[in-house]
C-alpha cells in the first residue's frame, strides 16, 4: 500500500490535476456532486469527502444532457458533425463502492456484447477511478444488504482503491491503469496497513430470493399501498446511480441543430407515451411498480445482478420518503 498524510491531499490532487482532467466530489452551494478540481482550486466549491454525493458519478459517463452530434442544413444537403471524443485521460477521485457497482450496472447496458455505446465507451476507457471505502456509512446506506463489498470496490470499475486511515490515506492499485497512475505520483510512502474499521450499517436485511418473489407479485396490492404517495417527480431516478433511461431530442436554431441525449424517468408522463397518445403506464401505480421491478427483478433476470446498489440516495431525497428498503423487507416477509 502507498500512503499520504491527509494534510498532503491537496498536493496529491494538484499533481493529478496537472496530468489528467481531475473530477472530485464537491459541495457547490449545497449540492454535492462530482465536478472538475478547478472548482475547488478557485474556491467556487469545497471538496466533499464526508459521505456520498447527492448527484451520483453516473453524470461522468452519462451526463444529464449530452450532445450526440451537430447537424445543419446546407441547401438541400444535411451536414453532420460528430462530437469530439475526450481529448485526455480523466481521473475520477473518491467514488464510493456502491457507485462502482452502479457503474458496472451501466456497463451491462451501454457496453452490451452486441453494441458498445461509443460515447459511453470513450469516457469509460479514458477514466481512472479512485474508489474510496466508507468507514462511516450514512443512516440511509444499505449497500451491504445489496451484496456490495464494503472493503473492496467493484474490480471491473475501480483502478485505485483508497482507504481512509485516520491521519493518512492508503492507496492500492487494482488495475494496471491504476498502478501506472500511482507510480507517477510523488510524495507517497510505501508500507503495510491494516484495513480500517467500518461501522455497521443501521439498515440491514437479507434480500435472498427477492427477484423470484417479485415475479409472482405483479398484481399484488402492495403497489397501491406504496404508490399512492408518490408524486411522480424525477428525484429518485435522477439521483440514482443506476437509473439510466434517456430520451433523444433535437434542439434547433434556424438551420442548425443539436441531437441531444438527456436523462429521462419512468416516473414522467411523456415516458413510454406512444404515438397517438396511448400511455401503457398511465398512473402512479404502474410507474412505481416499473421502477421497483426494474431495480429488483427485471435487471436481475437479464443481467444477474441487482439494479439497486443500496446507496440510499432515494431514501434521503424522495420528497415523500418512499423507502425501498421497507418495500424489500415487506416483500421478503410476504
Amino acid at each position: 500500500m502507498k500512503f499520504i498524510e491527509k494534510t498532503n491531499l491537496t498536493s496529491l490532487l494538484a499533481q493529478l490535476d496537472a496530468q489528467y482532467r481531475l473530477l472530485v466530489p464537491v459541495d457547490y452551494h449545497g449540492l454535492t456532486q462530482f465536478a472538475p478540481y478547478s472548482q475547488v482550486d478557485s474556491g467556487v466549491s469545497q471538496l466533499y469527502l464526508d459521505g456520498n454525493v447527492t448527484v451520483s458519478p453516473k453524470t461522468v459517463y452519462l451526463p444529464q444532457s449530452e450532445a450526440m452530434y451537430k447537424f445543419s442544413a446546407q441547401g438541400k444537403k444535411l451536414a453532420i458533425e460528430e462530437m469530439p471524443p475526450l481529448d485526455r485521460m480523466q481521473v475520477l477521485f473518491g467514488v464510493r463502492h456502491c457507485d462502482t457497482k452502479a457503474i458496472q450496472c451501466l456497463d451491462k447496458v451501454f457496453l452490451d456484447d452486441t453494441f458498445a455505446d461509443p460515447q459511453y465507451k470513450d469516457k469509460r476507457d479514458k477514466t481512472i477511478v479512485f474508489s474510496l471505502a466508507c468507514n462511516n456509512p450514512k443512516a440511509t446506506c444499505f449497500c451491504e444488504s445489496m451484496g456490495i463489498d464494503r472493503a473492496h470496490a467493484e474490480q471491473s470499475v475501480a483502478d485505485v482503491q483508497v482507504y481512509d486511515l485516520g491521519e493518512r490515506y492508503g492507496f492500492e492499485a487494482v488495475s494496471d491503469k491504476g498502478q501506472a497512475c500511482l507510480n507517477a505520483l510523488n510524495g507517497m510512502t510505501d508500507g503495510e496497513a491494516k484495513l480500517p474499521e467500518q461501522k455497521p450499517q443501521s439498515i440491514s436485511f437479507d434480500a435472498q430470493g427477492l427477484p423470484e418473489k417479485l415475479k409472482e407479485m405483479f398484481d399484488h396490492p402492495i403497489w397501491d399501498e406504496y404508490a399512492f404517495k408518490c408524486l411522480n417527480c424525477g428525484t429518485c431516478s435522477y439521483i440514482c446511480p443506476t437509473c439510466h433511461c434517456f430520451d433523444i431530442n433535437n434542439k434547433m436554431r434556424g438551420t442548425t441543430g443539436l441531437k441531444l441525449r438527456t436523462w429521462d424517468s419512468c416516473m414522467f408522463g411523456e415516458y413510454t407515451q406512444m404515438a397517438g397518445g396511448h400511455q401503457p403506464r398511465p398512473g402512479k401505480k404502474e410507474r412505481v411498480r416499473n421502477r421497483f421491478l426494474h431495480k429488483l427483478q427485471y435487471f436481475n433476470e437479464k443481467h444477474n445482478m441487482s439494479l439497486c446498489v443500496g446507496c440510499g440516495r432515494c431514501i434521503a431525497k424522495c420528497p415523500v420518503n418512499m423507502d425501498i428498503t421497507k418495500f424489500i423487507r415487506q416483500v421478503i416477509a410476504e
Binding site: 448527484v55 404517495k229 411522480n232 431530442n249
Partner: protein, 298 residues
C-alpha cells in the same frame, strides 16, 4: 382537549377509526413514521385495524390536501389531516376547482411549526433541530377551514413576514443578481419535485411535460432551468400559500422561496395585501382583474 403530540396522535387514531368503521370515509390519509427519525411520510389507511400506523410529530410537514386531486373522479370519500398551511392549500384547490368539498373530510390540526428535516439530516444525532424556514414565518398555524378539529388553537408566533432575504437580493446590481441566480439554477436537475409537491402547481397538464411543443427543451442547463424556475414562480404568484415545501424537497437546495417571496412582496405592493387560501371567496390577485389595477406598462 388533546394538545400534546401524543394526545393529538391518539385522537387522530380515534377519529380515523370512527370514520372508517362508520363508513363515513373510505380512506384516511395521514402521516406515518418514515425511514429516519426526521422523516414522516404520508400513509393511506383503509381499515380501522391499521389506524395505529398514524403518527403526529414535528416532521409531519407534507401537505396531504393535494392527494385529494387523485380521487376527484372516483367514488372515494377521503379524510385528510390538515395543518394550517394544508387547509390554505385545500382552499386554493377548491378555488381552482381541482377538488370537491363533498368528496373530502378535513380534520384540522393546529400546528406548532414543523422542524427543518433537511437541516436535521446534516446535524449530528440528538442535536437541536431548528424550525423549518417557512414555518418560522407562518402566520396561520391554525386550520382556516375544517370539518372537524383536534386540539386547541395555538397562538401564532409570527405576525409579519421577514423580507430581509428578498431585500438583500433586490439590493444587488443586475450583474450580481444574474450571477446569483445563474449559480443557483446551474444546480437544478429538473426533477420537478418542487412542482409536483406544490398545491399551487395543480395544472392538469404542465408546459414542462410537453417537450415537443418547443417551449422548453429537455436540455438541462442554467438558462433553460431558469426559464423553468421563473415560469413556475410566475404561475404560482398570488396562489402560493407559502408552505415552503418546494424549497424543502429540492435535492439541489435551490432557494426557491426567495423568488416566491419576491412575488408576494410585489403583489402586496401592487394590488394590496393578499393572503392566498385563507378563505375561498377572495380571488387570487392575478386570477381576475379590476379596472383600478395598475397598468403602467400600457
Amino acid at each position: 382537549m388533546p394538545n400534546t403530540f401524543a394526545e393529538i396522535q391518539n385522537e387522530m387514531r380515534n377519529i380515523a377509526k370512527e370514520l372508517l368503521e362508520s363508513g363515513e370515509a373510505t380512506m384516511v390519509i395521514g402521516w406515518e413514521k418514515g425511514a429516519l427519525p426526521y422523516q414522516s411520510t404520508p400513509v393511506m389507511i383503509r381499515s380501522a385495524e391499521d389506524v395505529d400506523k398514524l403518527i403526529w410529530d414535528e416532521y409531519c410537514q407534507q401537505n396531504l390536501s393535494t392527494y385529494l386531486i387523485d380521487y376527484i373522479y372516483t367514488d372515494e370519500k377521503v379524510a385528510i389531516f390538515a395543518k394550517g398551511c394544508d387547509t390554505r392549500a385545500y382552499n386554493r384547490l377548491i378555488q381552482d376547482n381541482r377538488i370537491k368539498a363533498e368528496k373530502s373530510i378535513v380534520i384540522g390540526v393546529p400546528c406548532l411549526g414543523m422542524k427543518n428535516a433537511r437541516e436535521a439530516a446534516k446535524l449530528p444525532e440528538g442535536a437541536e433541530v431548528p424550525m423549518a424556514n417557512a414555518c418560522k414565518e407562518c402566520r396561520y398555524p391554525n386550520p382556516v377551514t375544517f370539518d372537524r378539529k383536534i386540539g386547541e388553537d395555538v397562538t401564532p408566533w409570527c405576525t409579519e413576514r421577514d423580507f430581509s432575504d428578498v431585500e438583500a437580493i433586490e439590493a444587488l446590481s443586475a450583474d450580481e443578481k444574474y450571477a446569483f441566480w445563474q449559480s443557483q439554477y446551474t444546480k437544478c436537475i429538473r426533477c420537478y419535485a418542487c412542482r409536483n409537491i406544490c398545491p399551487a402547481c395543480n395544472c392538469t397538464s404542465c408546459i414542462f411535460d410537453q417537450s415537443a411543443s418547443g417551449w422548453c427543451s429537455k436540455d438541462v442547463n442554467a438558462s433553460e432551468n431558469q426559464f423553468y424556475g421563473v415560469t413556475r414562480a410566475f404561475h404560482v404568484a398570488g396562489r402560493c400559500i407559502e408552505c415552503g415545501q418546494c424549497e424543502m424537497v429540492c435535492p439541489s437546495e435551490v432557494p426557491i422561496m426567495l423568488m416566491n417571496k419576491k412575488f408576494i412582496k410585489d403583489i402586496d405592493s401592487l394590488f394590496g395585501a393578499h393572503e392566498a387560501g385563507i378563505d375561498i371567496d377572495t380571488p387570487a390577485p392575478l386570477s381576475h382583474f379590476s379596472v383600478s389595477d395598475p397598468e403602467e406598462f400600457m
